[in-house]
Subunit: 153 residues, 3 copies
């Protein structure tokens, strides 16, 4: 592999500051629910040019991921793949919160609850095809809290 | 999905500082070992109101996750699920460190070695049911190092 | 588990600053491609003693992981394991970008696109056996962008 520094390579001299908020997202049921726009709007309102955004999901049966924001079929394939890896039909010791609860914990571990995205030139450094998704793993509708933390200047 | 800003939404003006430490955790063998209390104690001792905590596991056969801190059965189900996804019985090219070594690497990749958790109002922004776990994937007892880094004010 | 504070435990008083860059890595095809050296060189050039490095992969069919940097066989075993968990032979709704595309998205979700590593005493806090890898999940050679963000002093 070769590597090259990007022309925008920069050391940033402005004094650093931080900001944080909690987004409350209402999920209609299982699936990947995009909230890139809500995230980018809050980040833009902080008026920083460069920094680091961290997202944290405060739940153990929902999670976060970054995935393709174009082809809608990708999300369905992801949900069905997670169902195959962590099926409701398996025998779990923890089954008193419903057959979808333990699989939801497993899917949450696989996908993860924290994500960090740099901010460059006032924009999140997401690639062209990347969107930010809340992964709801329970059958029922839920209200989910995502904490955003931004440090930068 | 709808979203709403949390009332505690805030830009923090105090000058930022950082702190770091290394926790050494003794694991008795395979399983998820909680160290939320040790982490929260160190964070509290830094006297910050808001910021970002990052945990980093310095190993390739152990890892970190955030999971349910209530029902004990959840942890057993997670261990058995990881055993099914990365079984010792599979044929691995790398087998000279014992049959549990290569599965341990695979489980470490699936769960991950870094985690970031915002600090809000002097408290880690963990949800009610979230605990921080060191996942030991080897059979033998180990001494594991977790680096904590905190930036905030 | 017991825990002990590391002797290097420290609160760092110097004013914080940040730096960022984008590495462009050319991958020859599927597999785990190490770029620890390129990352460490850029970090060293920023002249910080302590801080937090975050790496972010700007793609949805490639990803990041930290794994064993010694035994070469480990990487082959990881690739074959990912192929078993997300096989090309499965039936996917999203198949118009080739049979390796949807499996690549799934492998990217499993391994993740962001990683954070503390900086201690001027060095990344990687363990002895840890290397930083770009995971290429597509069959063809690609040019991949990894954004690095460093905050510290």
């Amino acid at each position: 592999m070769s590597q090259a520094l990007h022309p925008a390579d920069a050391a940033h001299a402005a004094p650093l500051r931080q900001a944080s908020t909690t987004l409350t997202l209402h999920t209609p049921g299982p699936g990947l629910h995009e909230f890139t726009r809500e995230t980018a709007q809050w980040v833009a309102a902080q008026g920083m040019d460069s920094g680091l955004l961290t997202l944290f999901c405060r739940h153990t049966s929902a999670s976060l991921c970054i995935q393709e924001n174009a082809a809608r079929e990708v999300r369905g394939d992801i949900v069905r793949w997670l169902d195959r890896l962590a099926p409701e039909s398996a025998a779990y010791a923890h089954d008193d919160e419903g057959p979808d609860d333990m699989p939801a914990h497993l899917k949450s571990i696989l996908t993860g609850v924290s994500l960090s995205i740099p901010l460059l030139g006032g924009q999140l450094a997401l690639g062209t095809w990347q969107g930010i998704y809340l992964c709801e793993h329970r059958r029922m509708a839920h209200r989910r809290q995502i904490v955003l933390h931004l440090v930068g200047a």
